[in-house]
């Protein structure tokens, strides 16, 4: 084809493409093809009725707790270690009174979100990364490696987590830097299983087969063709793992297996229980951290379930095969 002819044809095609493009754009909007950045807003926008309200509520609560964790000084009236008269009842000076050593409970609560959420997100990140790597390798390579990795996953799946964490927590020095890897290393199995099954599906997609045929390395295919298409599966798993890690952290802290210099909501509950909060019926000491743990986990779980449902709808609509 001569360059002139190509130019004429290309300009004709450009016009045709522009028309086609606008038609396609309409088609695409009806397919609901989404990119990760728009995700949270889309879930809240799309769901109608009770489900939508719950999702919006979840996002709102989550943003509130995130703000609390990132900028505690905006909300907390005092530093968490500042001392006042102990066992004070709620007043204008101290919204939630003071604890046994005179720390302002409200300030402690605000700063405590930082530790609880850090442990939750960091442990979830570790578990999601391990689960994703093992799941992708098992699903992509299949064969003996798949059998080996999934066999190992089954073994980890049957380990009783909380008793093991308690034993490890008791033997190792209590610290969130021990707690994060321990929680992460013991909760990746379901992510690995789900990632594997999705990878098996993606492995048969035309673009993966084409990439294999063209001679791209397995690493390139797994990292650029498979991993980015797993976000529908990994994001909800990450959120649910965060909620689960926060529950475990709160349980262990309540049992006294946490670093007392880093007060989380679970540690606050533990102190309220063991240092006279319950005996003196100081509900303003033990109720707020309990409510915060519950609401934060509900908000994360709501987002996680919303993303999971959206992922299923995405598959039903066939957008994955696009």
């Amino acid at each position: 084809m001569s360059p002139e002819a190509a130019h004429i044809e290309s300009s004709c095609i450009t016009e045709a493409c522009t028309e086609e493009y606008s038609e396609k754009k309409r088609e695409i909007s009806s397919l609901n093809f989404k990119f990760p950045g728009e995700l949270l807003f889309k879930i809240s926008g799309r769901r109608k009725g009770l489900k939508g309200q719950l999702n919006r509520g979840g996002i709102f609560l989550f943003v509130f707790f995130l703000f609390m964790a990132l900028f505690p000084s905006f909300l907390a009236p005092y530093a968490p270690n500042e001392r006042f008269t102990p066992y004070k009842e709620p007043s204008w000076d101290h919204f939630l009174g003071t604890n046994d050593i005179g720390n302002d409970i409200f300030s402690e609560l605000v700063y405590g979100s930082r530790i609880s959420m850090t442990v939750g997100f960091a442990a979830a990140l570790v578990s999601t990364l391990i689960g994703a790597i093992l799941g992708i390798c098992a699903g992509y390579f299949r064969g003996a490696l798949d059998e080996l990795l999934m066999g190992f996953t089954d073994v980890v799946l049957i380990i009783p987590k909380i008793p093991l964490i308690i034993v490890l927590g008791a033997y190792l020095q209590p610290s969130i830097w021990i707690l994060i890897p321990v929680l992460g290393l013991l909760s990746w199995e379901s992510t690995a299983r789900v990632t594997r099954s999705k990878t098996l599906q993606l492995r048969e997609a035309g673009y993966v087969k084409s990439a294999r045929c063209m001679g791209f390395s397995s690493w390139h295919i797994m990292s650029t063709d498979i991993f980015p298409n797993l976000y529908n599966v990994l994001l909800p798993k990450f959120m649910l793992a965060t909620a689960s890690a926060m529950i475990s952290e709160a349980s262990l802290s309540f049992l006294g297996l946490s670093d007392i210099s880093m007060k989380s909501w679970g540690t606050m509950l533990s102190f309220a229980f063991f240092r006279g909060g319950f005996i003196r019926d100081m509900w303003w000491w033990y109720t707020p951290p309990g409510i915060c743990i519950t609401l934060c986990i509900i908000s994360i779980a709501l987002i996680g379930f919303g993303l999971e449902t959206q992922g299923k709808e995405h598959v039903r609509e066939g957008a994955d095969a696009m």
Binding site: C17, K24, Y207, R212, C213, M214
Partner: protein, 232 residues
């Protein structure tokens, strides 16, 4: 010329029996040869194993018995560098054009990756891509679009030209036109013919459409009940 052909020698494919199912033989003792510049058509009804046979010939799946020979060497006995050469020189083009590109990569990115794989310096990527677009007759703006924003015919042309960047000797065409409408089918078939004349590429054309097979093929075979009947 025996040594430069792509040859399937007594290929059989059987899916293994499981605990609850008996094994299924897809095809048995299938032999044929694809020569440079020629097209071998493979016909058969749905579910006869044409696509599986295509994937085996392209080296994406292993045959249960039998071998695929490239330049006289069976795939199973190839050394690493021979395998790399085979991987570049034998390509496959799939039926569904919308599935040929990663939905999360822009077309330009997908093309650049192939150029990077071939070791083309980044400075030359744009000139190479422009050359490719002239061959396909598509405007430059398609490079900045996602696959879902382009029509099936355009995607199929882009898929073919991306394959052509690798300068393959043989292409397995797995029902390349069955997902397209009639007018676009003709465009793609003519483009394939042009490419074959210009580059002396050998094709294994898989289709259930006899008209397409007759139009494109120099010889063809019908896969029926696991057996290949060759019609010259």
């Amino acid at each position: 010329m025996f040594s430069i052909s792509l040859r399937a020698d007594r290929l059989s494919k059987t899916y293994e029996a499981g605990l609850l199912s008996t094994g299924k033989c897809i095809f048995r003792e299938v032999s044929f040869e694809i020569r440079s510049g020629k097209t071998f058509g493979l016909m058969g009804s749905s579910g006869e194993g044409k696509s599986t046979l295509g994937r085996v010939v392209a080296g994406l799946e292993k045959a249960t018995t039998g071998s695929v020979y490239y330049k006289g060497t069976p795939l199973t006995l190839m050394k690493k560098n021979e395998k790399i050469a085979f991987r570049r020189k034998v390509q496959i083009m799939f039926q569904d054009p919308t599935d040929a590109f990663n939905p999360r990569k822009k077309i330009g990115h997908a093309i650049s990756e192939v150029l990077a794989l071939l070791g083309v310096p980044e400075a030359r990527h744009s000139s190479k891509t422009e050359e490719m677009l002239i061959t396909t007759g598509l405007p430059k703006e398609v490079l900045s679009r996602y696959p879902s924003q382009i029509s099936g015919g355009q995607l199929q042309r882009l898929a073919l030209s991306r394959i052509l960047l690798l300068d393959p000797e043989y292409i397995v065409l797995d029902e390349p036109t069955s997902a397209l409408d009639v007018s676009v089918q003709a465009q793609i078939l003519h483009m394939l013919k042009e490419v074959q004349t210009e580059r002396n590429t050998g094709y294994l054309l898989i289709s259930h459409d006899e008209i397409v097979i007759r139009f494109m093929s120099d010889s063809y075979g019908v896969l029926e009940n696991g057996q290949l009947k060759i019609i010259e």
